[in-house]
Symmetry: C2
Subunit: 432 residues, 2 copies
């Protein structure tokens, strides 16, 4: 058999930009290049873009997978210079300027954008990769939902095999951990109070564990205090200032020597680019969290025709060497900036440095409770914060159809909250 | 290890009715027994009821899995005497009056209802079970959707590996075959015209094969003629009067000696209860399509405390020995009748014979085209038939939420038909 040849050699006069990854960052680049002279190809092994900030609601059966996913082809259906390629990139040849796809062909590029994201960071905690449930992809959200609902069904079906009540541990006190623990507790209440599962709520616990001394450490102290109060009002137990030493098949071991028996451990303690294609494919040492080191203009060190953005890249915050957090706004802004710089290079103009505009941050704790901190302005809490959170998330959700469906779901949940679609999705994959 | 004991021995004063299966038939029995003196347990390995008549729309990405599935617990949340047990029944002990569950315990019953459905009937056609794609369960619909969309992505990505165009074969000219072929053709058009997949529509074919000399053979001739005309107008090729002799990995071989190369073969040629638990567990010979033989009151021959209904049972149409077709209305009506007879037995009253009320039938061929034949009345065609079809299906769909979502989807599709959620669902199950 002959070795695969580069069947997709770029034989047009248009420079070709290959974007690896259709997340917030990759989509932002492609949007920025839509209508330009460049031929743009977005490569992703999923045919859809995922709205990650709402994954925890898919995991806790408040939303359906299709509500937070949108076909990438549909996003660019009116942009004749943007194409989608369903596939997985397995290697990058920086010399030949080609990416290799798992199903065979090489794809030649003039500019390559690495927007391949990250994965859960387990900090070397024994058992964490094996036993805990991360929440970064739609597949993660589906697995977590199956685990939560199947656990509750098992407890209901065979109470004699288990201690009374059920406990879930959430590791990480950032926005994802806070949002997920609030949502898991709501699911538990709904399953018992409305679906009639025979589980003792008094003896059931959702326990949030974090090494720091407060939840939402990136927020002002008043927001952390508020969030802690709401969480405790909603029967979530906070175990702060302790570290998870080990995750086992039956729970977690903490640094203070205590052991928590748990039916599930949700890992929301951070993400890392280590082991991802972007981190492995480049010759130089990666930056913090295994992220690809980039210049101030977002091009990869020593490779002006390769760019790295979003969670995969150590995006510099401003003129100094401070690195941005791995957040959706950074992904979107770095993607937009990257598109502008590629256009500058194609026009023979000099590139510009990226500067992150921190517009603030928000986290929701459950129904009618959220905190929002605008960059300039006070901390907004409670119902008003929740409405701000809701509006912003709807605004950034891709596609009018998804916005409509999610808004409908939320109204429903608000007016009659138990009616969420608590389907065990794994059930739908097995034979009758 | 000790053998599992019947931990669920019925120690209350209430007679216990165990219903195996949460489809149309099983749900109808449980509804009929809600509020009665009986303790009712619905056992299903899926935690949701599936609205099978719309599965073809899930398969062709017009609806999402959650739109046609509804949690069984939620259906009965206000009925304190109806419980749900998530599990798979592996055996029935008619002497001890127990069913055995895959996860261990025995479940004692006073009355047992077998509503465990059927599966695709391949009529011994070589390769059919291995290579063709049936459409009976939600898992089937998801697999078919993945196959359709992945096939189109592969053709787009590597056109050099395939002949121009793409062909799908649908086996069976009944309502499911007609509905599915129309819907597959629509999906193909949408993917090419709106999503920009590089596939030659002129050289693409959807071919409906049936042994009979007309589609919709159970309908009046005028309905068949109309359906055939609409299908041909929509570029579906009819191959009538030929039999599928073999299904292979690359297509089908027909009885007239021709071979059709196809990227997928969809099997819509009928269902059978052969090999299902209900058929295997009983000592007597099964009836037509492997269905459980029942008395006129729907109790199983020689077992007055065991009942069989829906697709699993050879339900008798009336006083004679004519057997009902395997259709949703039969399942619903037999379920309702079964509940009434169990109540009669519990009250010491004699049971009554089942009589099927055929209210008519309908089939949709695509947008704004359907045929409906009321039992008394003319054949309704076209837009009016389509509206009748739409109204009836919305009426029977379980749950206001699902009705609302499906109606919204249909309005959307009607006004702006390409915006369906064409997500490759398998993508959401794999790691990033």
């Amino acid at each position: 058999m002959e070795s695969p040849v580069a069947v997709n050699v770029n034989d047009t006069e248009h420079p070709r930009v290959v974007i690896v990854g259709g997340g917030f960052a990759g989509i932002a680049v492609a949007r920025g290049l839509a209508g330009s002279e460049a031929d743009v190809i977005v490569v992703d092994q999923h045919n859809f873009h995922t709205f990650q900030p709402l994954l925890y609601q898919v995991a806790t059966a408040g939303l359906e997978p299709a509500d937070v996913a949108y076909p990438i082809r549909t996003i660019f259906r009116n942009d004749s210079n943007v194409a989608f390629r369903h596939g997985r990139v397995t290697a990058i040849d920086l010399e030949a300027k080609e990416v290799l796809l798992a199903d065979g062909p090489h794809l030649a590029y003039d500019h390559l954008v690495l927007a391949s994201g990250a994965s859960a960071e387990f900090f070397g905690v024994p058992g964490a990769a094996q036993y805990s449930l991360p929440l970064y992809t739609l597949a993660d959200a589906r697995h977590l939902r199956n685990r939560l609902l199947l656990t509750l069904e098992e407890r209901d079906a065979s109470p004699e095999n288990y201690p009374p009540g059920v406990t879930f541990v959430v590791v990480g006190g950032g926005p994802t951990g806070v949002e997920t623990s609030g949502s898991v507790r709501e699911l538990l209440d709904i399953c018992v109070r409305r679906d009639g599962l025979n589980i003792d709520l008094e003896q059931s616990h959702v326990i949030l564990v974090d090494l720091g001394d407060r939840v939402l450490p990136a927020f002002p102290m008043s927001a952390s205090t508020y969030a802690a109060k709401i969480l405790e009002n909603r029967h979530i137990t906070l175990r702060l200032g302790v570290q998870v030493k080990e995750v086992t098949s039956t729970g977690v071991v903490l640094s203070d020597g205590t052991t928590i028996e748990a039916a599930g451990v949700i890992w929301a303690a951070g993400v890392s680019a280590r082991g991802t294609l972007a981190a492995e494919a480049l010759p130089h040492q990666p930056g913090p969290q295994g992220r690809v080191r980039v210049e101030h203009d977002l091009s990869v060190l020593e490779h002006p025709d390769v760019w790295a953005i979003g969670d995969a890249a150590a995006v510099l915050r401003g003129a100094g060497d401070e690195v941005c957090p791995q957040l959706a706004p950074v992904a979107i802004q770095s993607g937009k900036h990257c598109a502008e710089q590629i256009l500058n290079v194609l026009k023979g103009k000099p590139t510009k440095s990226f500067k992150y505009h921190d517009k603030g941050m928000m986290a929701t704790i459950g129904r009618r409770a959220a905190v929002a901190k605008m960059q300039r302005g006070p901390v907004i809490k409670g119902t008003l914060g929740w409405l701000a959170w809701l509006t912003l998330h709807l605004f950034y959700l891709v596609g009018f159809r998804n916005r409509f469906r999610v808004l409908t779901n939320w109204c429903w949940r608000y007016l009659d909250w138990p009616s969420g679609p608590r389907l065990i999705v794994a059930d739908a994959e097995t034979a009758p």
